[in-house]
Structures are given as C-alpha cells and as structure tokens.
C-alpha cells in the first residue's frame, strides 16, 4: 500500500469579503500534517467558503493559506487543485465515465502512464471496499448512494494528495451507511496519512472524526481544539449550546473504561452475576448504557480473563463533573 505523507495547512488572517458581507473574518489556525481538522458551524458560518479558499475555488480577499509553508496563491490554480483531493456532498461523479475512469481522473490529468493509472485505480477501489472486478466498468448511475460516495473518496485520493478537502461528504446518505462510511474514512485516513479538512454541520460527526475541531460562527473562528477539550471546556455559551447540553454524555464516548478509576476493593465473587462484563477498550458511553440496562448498576472490568475491578455509576458521574 502506498502511504502518502500529509502536509501542514495553515490559515493566516484569511478573510473573504463579498459586497455588503464579510463571509470569513481574519481566520487563523494550523492543521498539523496527517491530522483531520473538522470545520463545524451553523449554515452561513463561513466553513465551506473557508474550505474552498484552500483549492482556490474561491479566492481570498486577504491573508494567506499555506500548504507545507507554501502560499496557495503562488501556484497556478489547476496545478494546485491536482495535488489537493476534493470530495463534495453530491459526489459529482462524471456520469459519462465508468467508475475506473472517474477514479483515474487526476492521474490522467497529471499524465501518468496508463498501466500505473490502472493499477492505482484497482488498488483504490479495493481500499474503499468496492471489488474492482465488479465495479470498475460500471457507470455511476448503476451504484447506490453509499457506493458512489466511496468512489468519490477513491477519486480524491487517486494521485496521493498530501491534503484532502471534504465538504459534507456523508451528508446525503442514510444514517447506517453514514456510520459505516465514517469508520471506513478513519481507517483509510490513518492508512494514507493524508491531512484532511472536513466541513460538516453535524457536531457528532465532528467529535467522532476530528483530531481538531474548528467551531465557526458568523465567519469567525470561535474555538479550535481537540474534541475532548471542546466538550469539556467550551470557550463560550455559543459553543456550549452548539455542542449540546448532553456534552457530558458525548464526552463519555471519547473516554474508555481503561481510563477510569476502578474500585479494586471488591472481590469478583461479590459482584452480582448479572453485572455487564466490560473490557478496558469499551467506551464509557457504552459502559454506562449497559450498566443502566442491567439491574446491577456496576460493571465488571475484565482484560482478557484478568479481573481488574468494578466500574460504578458514581465514578462515571465524577468523571463528567471533574472535567467540566
């Protein structure tokens, strides 16, 4: 498997003015190489405008955007775009081209030899879980929504771009497919090491996928932090409201049983037999749900046959409170 190295992406004082409106207001933040940065906010917050300034579908009015320290404005737009992956919600597959042709788009524009395009296409289809023999020669109209979005991701990754831009890529598929696509996306991103800027209006998606989350409102960056930090310490009332009053529960989804203070004073034999058995890698959110569902009110923590202690509801409660 080819492993690309991501590039750093830095916004420095970036603004976008339209007549009578400031769509993006002096935006500054940096995304480390190989990380996923989620831009999240209500509609009209300037997140999509910010994303499209990276590949110059929209030209900034001021400031600079640097990819590995190089200003995007210094490069010819078509050349710039060919080394930045781009995925949009409606996918935008070319209906008149087969799946293989769609995936090979950027390598073709870059003039790769035909055999290299063919082998890369096959590799990518397999990577996104579409069997090349079945899908390569079909047309987009013959695929389901989820399959089309997988092709969209494969197409964006084709030329091993150091940066990938994704504009609500999983917004148009049903929740079950979305969950699966999100998980696959995380796996692929780790595998490829691409730096990703990802726009969504869904805070749950932002928390699940982001290494860093940039919360935007009215064209401004309100908070830029890792998801756990965002949930634990919202910068202001707007962020607190945006992440939701259940932010404590959402935070539990990011923590694992292994990180909690277990009660080790109880002998295993003393724990009710119907108490759920938890492993250290279980999220606290899942642990809580299973504990509430059983009458035991506690969970038995076992790491491969080895008994570690019990997890109590009050411990979970304390973890939510302590952190906030």
């Amino acid at each position: 498997m080819v492993s690309t190295r991501g590039a750093t992406v830095e916004f420095r004082d970036v603004s976008k003015r339209y007549p009578g409106q400031l769509a993006v207001d002096r935006l500054s933040f940096a995304v480390p190489a190989g990380r996923i940065c989620i831009l999240v906010g209500p509609s009209g917050s300037g997140k999509t405008t910010s994303l499209k300034m990276v590949n110059r579908l929209i030209e900034p009015s001021g400031g600079s955007i640097l990819i590995d320290g190089q200003d995007v404005l210094a490069e010819e737009p078509t050349a710039l775009r060919r080394r930045i992956g781009y995925v949009i919600q409606q996918v935008g597959l070319f209906p008149h081209q087969t799946i293989a042709e769609n995936v090979g788009t950027v390598p073709r524009l870059l003039g790769w030899p035909r055999e290299r395009i063919a082998s890369r296409t096959e590799e990518l289809l397999a990577l996104v879980g579409l069997e090349p023999a079945r899908f390569a020669r079909r047309y987009p109209a013959q695929l389901s929504g989820g399959e089309r979005q997988r092709v969209g991701v494969a197409r964006a990754l084709a030329a091993e771009p150091p940066v990938m831009l994704m504009d609500e890529p999983f917004g148009a598929v049903d929740p079950i497919v979305r969950e699966r696509l999100q998980n696959e996306f995380l796996r692929i991103q780790r595998d490829q090491g691409t730096t990703v800027l990802f726009v969504t209006h869904d805070i749950d998606e932002a928390i699940k996928l982001g290494d860093r989350v940039a919360v935007m409102a009215g064209g401004k960056l309100v908070q830029y932090a890792p998801p756990g930090e965002l949930l634990a310490h919202p910068a202001n009332d707007f962020v607190a409201e945006f992440v939701g009053s259940d932010r404590g529960l959402k935070r539990l989804a990011l923590l694992t049983v292994g990180g909690a203070d277990l009660d080790t004073g109880v002998d295993r034999a003393g724990v009710p037999s119907h108490a759920p058995v938890l492993s250290p890698s279980t999220t606290l959110r899942d642990a809580l749900a299973r504990m509430l569902a059983s009458e035991a009110q506690v969970g038995v923590v076992v790491d491969r046959d080895r008994y570690l202690g019990v997890l109590t509801l009050s411990t979970i409660g304390r973890m939510i409170r302590d952190d906030m």
């Binding site: 590949n55 579908l57 737009p77 078509t78 050349a79 710039l80 775009r81 060919r82 781009y86 949009i88 919600q89 409606q90 996918v91 935008g92 597959l93 070319f94 209906p95 008149h96 081209q97 788009t105 950027v106 524009l109 079909r138 047309y139 109209a141 013959q142 197409r155 964006a156 831009l165």
Partner: protein, 217 residues
C-alpha cells in the same frame, strides 16, 4: 393530370432510378452542408451566450426572426446578390437551422449538473477541458436531439430550393407540378420523406453509440 393516366406509372419510376440517385446525392449534399455549417455557427454563438449571458436575448431575437421569414421570399430576395447558386440555397438553409441548434446546445450545456462541474474544476480541469471532456459529452443527447430536428426540417426545405435551380428531390416535385405529372411529383415527395426518416434513424443510432452511459441508467 391527363385523362386516363394512372396516379403512379411504375414503368416511369423503374426507368428513372439513375436520376433518383443523382437527386439523392444533391439532396444529401445540400442537407449536410446546411446542417454542418449551421452547427459550426450555432456552436460559436452558443459559446458566446454561455460566456456572456446578456448576448442570449439579441442572438435569439435575430435567429428567431430569420426562422420566421418565409423561405420562398428569402430565396427570392437573395437572388439579386448571389444568383441561382448553391450559395443562395445554403444561406437560406443554414439560417433556418440556427435557432433550434443554438437552443439545444445552450440548454444541453446548461443542463450539466452543477456538482459535476464543481468536481471537475475542483480536481484541476482547465476551463477548456471542462467544456470538451465534461460538458459537451454530457450535453450530447440534447445537442443531437437538436441536430435531428434541424436535419429533418432542412431535408423538407431543400425541396423548396428547386425554385432557384437546386433542390434534390424537390426538382422532381417542381417538374411534376409543371408537367401535371403526378408520378414524378409523388416520387419526389415520397423520396424526400424517406430520406428524412432514414437520416433521423441514423442520428438516433449515432446518439446511442456516443452515449453508452445513458443506457446504464
């Protein structure tokens, strides 16, 4: 028609196959030149409209007006300038194709889904490549639909150019009228209609051939 003469004299038809072939060649030539030249002009004007939307009104008004001028009058008015030539015929025939061709080329390209265009630009297609590799192929079905209508109406109109010494199968119709000879008149009309049907069928086949993805839906 003389008394006792049958509507169609098959023996006359059998003995004039050579002339039919000659008229067919003329008819096809006049049609192909008209639709071909018309397409080139219409394509250029469509690009102007797509780039400068304000040009759409004036261009549609002019080509629309051309379309309404009675063909007979147009040919008669051109004779003092270009004589009884193929040029006179083609000026008229070409002008009648423009309205329909421009309308379909513009509509076809505007009908390309915005997300497809955005993806193409976002992945680094240059504007010219977007037009040639993405927009034109996707507009092809609508464009060919326009070419079909233009071709059929041109094949009909070619018969009128017999009045200025051209005409293909129209020549047979004209002579048939002048000599009160129904066999020749009907032969000309039927052959013209047959040519239109065959041309249309060929264009349908061409479209299927060029747009294999349309059958996949």
């Amino acid at each position: 028609m003389t008394e006792g003469e049958p509507l169609i004299r098959w023996d006359w038809i059998a003995s004039h196959l050579d002339e039919f072939a000659l008229r067919l060649a003329e008819h096809v030539e006049l049609t192909v030149i008209a639709v071909g030249v018309g397409f080139v002009i219409a394509f250029a004007l469509s690009l102007v409209i797509l780039r400068v939307p304000r040009a759409e009104g004036p261009i549609t008004a002019v080509t629309g007006t051309m379309y309404t001028i009675p063909s007979l009058a147009l040919f008669a008015l051109l004779i003092p300038y270009t004589g009884l030539t193929i040029l006179t015929a083609e000026i008229g025939l070409v002008s009648y194709t423009l309205l329909i061709l421009i309308r379909n080329i513009v509509r076809g390209i505007r009908g390309v889904p915005p997300d497809v265009r955005e993806a193409a630009v976002g992945m680094g297609y240059a504007p010219r490549e977007v037009l040639l590799r993405i927009e034109l192929p996707l507009a092809l079905a609508v464009i060919i639909a326009g070419v079909r209508v233009a071709t059929i109406s041109t094949i009909g109109l070619v018969t009128v150019t017999s009045l200025i010494g051209q005409g293909g199968f129209g020549f047979l119709i004209l002579i048939g009228i002048q000599r009160f000879f129904t066999t020749e008149l009907i032969a000309g009309a039927v052959l013209s209609v047959a040519l239109a049907i065959v041309a249309d069928a060929l264009l349908v086949l061409l479209q299927r051939r060029l747009t294999p993805w349309a059958r996949a839906e």
